[in-house]
Symmetry: C2
Subunit: 336 residues, 2 copies
């Protein structure tokens, strides 16, 4: 079942069928109708590989995700689904590629096999070999997260520094004087993971400005680490009355640690941070936090990439999102 068969049955040439399908050349109403009838009758769809080969584009985007072994957070996973939906609105398919670990073959296939027209790269590091690889490849790409880049680049990010600053100001307004930032893992910080670094910077700046005593701790991305981390903070700095966190995976452990310590939120201890909507609402009590707008980020990333595909000469653009902080129930006045 191919275009030749459709042409034969409709009594026209293959080019006419092709043009009827693409609309790139006018086709008489009668001919178009006949062609469409045959197509509908046989359920014909052009062969994607043949079209890609002829057109020089695949109508497919690559989405590079962290490997499953490094357990994806809720936000990350929601982001994947949202990218697929956003791409679908442009009639683009999405090819998934794990990277890192021992998945270089998969990443190389994406970059160099001309399987995709462009790439969205999640979870980039300040020094990221994948970014360098993509830059050499001439394949258009958009990153989630950003790196300061001389020539400018295409990205979407959440302004972690600003959000964490706002969280600190909120706590300062409530009278807290000793606060802690529960950051992502020490490995990520060492690897130059932007959100972890920028959160620290924002935290330190805001605590300084407000005259608070601020303390930053790294915490692995898992509940057990959250528990241990909080217990250590309580032991070493009992004067701390509030925490800001960007570590979603640690939340259940944090919750348990608070419970174990007999602390009631927000009466005895306040918590805020940058957390996926869904997780913030599942916390007990619901967290006052900046909701990471995964859907919006996905949509913007796809839109930027499409813009770059349509116009390869476009000057780099980006979007730095600063979602509002949703006031829920996890922050309160400093206990005395």
């Amino acid at each position: 079942m191919n275009i030749r068969e459709i042409a034969r049955r409709a009594g026209v040439s293959r080019s006419t069928v092709s043009y009827a399908l693409s609309g790139k050349r006018p086709v008489s109403a009668a001919t178009a109708r006949r062609i469409n009838e045959v197509i509908a009758e046989l359920g014909y769809k052009p062969n994607a590989s043949a079209r890609a080969l002829a057109e020089g584009r695949t109508r497919t985007l690559g989405l590079v995700i962290p490997p499953a072994s490094r357990r994806l957070t809720d936000v990350q996973l929601g982001f994947v689904a949202s990218v697929v939906e956003a791409a679908a609105t442009h009639d683009l398919d999405v090819l998934l590629s794990p990277s890192g670990g021992d998945h270089d073959r998969s990443f190389e296939r994406i970059v160099t096999g001309r399987r995709v027209d462009g790439v969205i790269l999640m979870e980039i590091l300040l020094e990221d070999p994948r970014v360098e690889r993509l830059e050499r490849s001439a394949l258009p790409f958009v990153t989630i997260g950003h790196i300061e880049h001389p020539g400018g680049s295409w990205w979407v990010d959440v302004d972690y520094a600003a959000l964490v600053r706002r969280c600190v100001h909120h706590l300062a307004d409530l009278g807290h004087q000793h606060v802690v930032l529960i950051n992502r893992s020490a490995e990520l910080v060492a690897a130059g993971y932007g959100p972890a670094l920028r959160s620290t910077a924002g935290f330190q700046e805001a605590t300084r400005r407000r005259g608070l005593c601020g303390h930053v701790v790294c915490c692995a991305d898992e509940p057990a680490a959250g528990l241990a981390c909080f217990e250590e903070v309580r032991a070493r700095r009992p004067e701390v009355t509030a925490a800001v966190t960007i570590n979603e995976a640690a939340l259940p452990g944090l919750q348990r640690a608070l419970h174990n310590a007999g602390l009631t939120v927000p009466r005895d201890f306040s918590i805020t941070g940058v957390i996926a909507n869904r997780l913030a609402e599942d916390f007990h009590p619901p967290l006052t936090a900046a909701d990471v707008p995964a859907e919006e980020m996905a949509r913007l990333a796809v839109d930027l990439l499409v813009e770059r595909l349509v116009n390869p000469e476009a000057t780099p653009r980006h979007a730095l999102l600063e979602p509002v902080i949703s006031l829920r129930s996890s922050t309160g006045a400093r206990p005395r």
Copy 2:
């Protein structure tokens, strides 16, 4: 940069380059070395579309996921990442397609555009139009979840009936006499979602056999519903001392409801069920539950699909997994 250029630089014909790459025809050691040098030097990779067109296969699998709008559970999302990893071990790429909602175009592209060699279909219903569509299409596919099918079919599933039975037996052994099954949503049950139906069947059979008083309630896939659902059970059936659940999304609400009711698990109330490892361990206290083995399911699904691709005449095979129940800390003797 194409195969002609490689051939020219290596001083051989295009076919020899192709055979050197595929190994489908012997190539003299000297020639092979020369070709490989040129390839390495130029970083050449065959154009995937051209190869797909010539070979008649795309080396790509389609993974049909539920739409992001219907929020994916943790298990489902982990499954996606695991499928990508399992496919990568076969050097296969994965094309993602949301289905349901208004994503029929995407699904149709997958099915009919010859974009993929085979499909893995998640979250199937007893009467699933997508399954029927795939059956008509002659595209090999494997489902996650199964439907009784006359001719046999290819699938991977977890034996929810057996696992729920085992949970009930466990509770019966601990002396519980009034137990409840917290099922997935009424909509899913109405739509014929297998795990929901089979869990109910297993629950009813086991409670009958052990002479327990069992009660089944449906619960929407979200924390708020879990909370409301549990409160209603407490109000209407205060004699209930244990719950079995397969509803992961409701767990945070369940947790909160238990807390609100002043119940300590497992002293006052026991909980068990079929729950993703990660969530079971995040519960407080950690849940005694059957861990849904998402990674293993993903690997098996990919392996089955690959087997079917390699041998189109193979008789349908399937895998019904019955993971062990991990004893953690959420079940105890019936309170008196």
